[in-house]
Symmetry: C2
Subunit: 211 residues, 2 copies
Amino acid sequence: MSRRVSESTIRRLSYYLRALEALEGSGAATVSSEELAERGGTTAAQVRKDLSQFGSFGKRGLGYAVKELECTLRRILGLHVRWRVALVGAGRIGSALFEYPNFAQRGFDCVAVLDADPAKVGSRWGPILIRPVSELERTVRELEADLVILAVPPEAAQDLAERAVGAGARGILNFAAVQLRVPRGIPVKDVNLVFEMEALSFAITQADSHA
Amino acid sequence: MSRRVSESTIRRLSYYLRALEALEGSGAATVSSEELAERGGTTAAQVRKDLSQFGSFGKRGLGYAVKELECTLRRILGLHVRWRVALVGAGRIGSALFEYPNFAQRGFDCVAVLDADPAKVGSRWGPILIRPVSELERTVRELEADLVILAVPPEAAQDLAERAVGAGARGILNFAAVQLRVPRGIPVKDVNLVFEMEALSFAITQADSHA
DNA sequence: TCCTGTGAAACGGTTCACAGCC
DNA sequence: GGCTGTGAACCGTTTCACAGGA
């Protein structure tokens, strides 16, 4: 239960969980690694390897119990508790995230929104009052935010990350196009749409020059 | 020049490019693999390996010429041409993307926006008229969109992807939480914020249970 | 028979270490 | 001396193939 688990495994676990949720809706009680693989975009052997890192959840000859496995995956991913999220940056991306219904549905509660723009500070997003970024530390500490989302310009990201972690944040979702340096043990996930677009651009260009 | 290049290499190339852009601003003419590694969050050896897959761009004893390497990377990534993008889904995420200034700056021009909601169809986003999704094929074909961004509910994504590709789209940026099945040779990049958040949740939970 | 769980083999990516050029 | 370019070693991940339980 305490081995090193790869990033790719974790991503696939999320896919499996989505697949199981869909399956439960359709009433299936049991599912094979084959079917899970199909929906998760991988292979049956990979599904079994992934799951076997955490235990033996299937029945040979039968497959996996949908509801049970779903529950197990939630627990493995740490989704049996709710997470408190502070959103830094009330711009376009911030507001899209804030209104994203799946977010709360999946166990992530936005408990605070902060912004550097004095024009935004003090206004409300639903029940949430927008605070100045100067209050980042206090906000994280007092509201006990576990996770911080940085939807800010790249110049500001490093400083805000350090302050957030100093105040007790335990993980960061980073939308800024910089490689953040944070203390060991603080996970950082980067989301960068330009990078993804550039990867598409590369793949297409490559395919062309190869043809 | 025609080897199989890994996803991780491409992602790092994007980071290197950002680093070079920043360096150019600061006036440095030359840069070592060491420094590039620092900014890209990797190692010097990795930088050299990554670059060596495409040619020899450095001078031994000296390093890499900033401007030249920047230009080379742009060309490798296929960013020497502009890309035509059709955005499907004019919701929160769609609008955030649409207004994202870096997007156009990096060579991606949004040439069309489509939505399934009749209330949105016909309204304007700046110069762009929102079209009904029923016109997806015609839009992609007539406006010669290379890339399609799917910011739509998961149920709709697979169908739209197939239709977009059928009409000539060459790559897809997918915000829906489903594994799209597309013809061989069509790159798909998935962006899923919930997955990233779940990865954070997992990492923190894991760290706790390990302590 | 069916399908899981898992060692072993194959593969691919990263790190090392050094030869080669400035 | 400094720093790149690169084969070789290393290491983690995926695939294979099959033993074993339902």
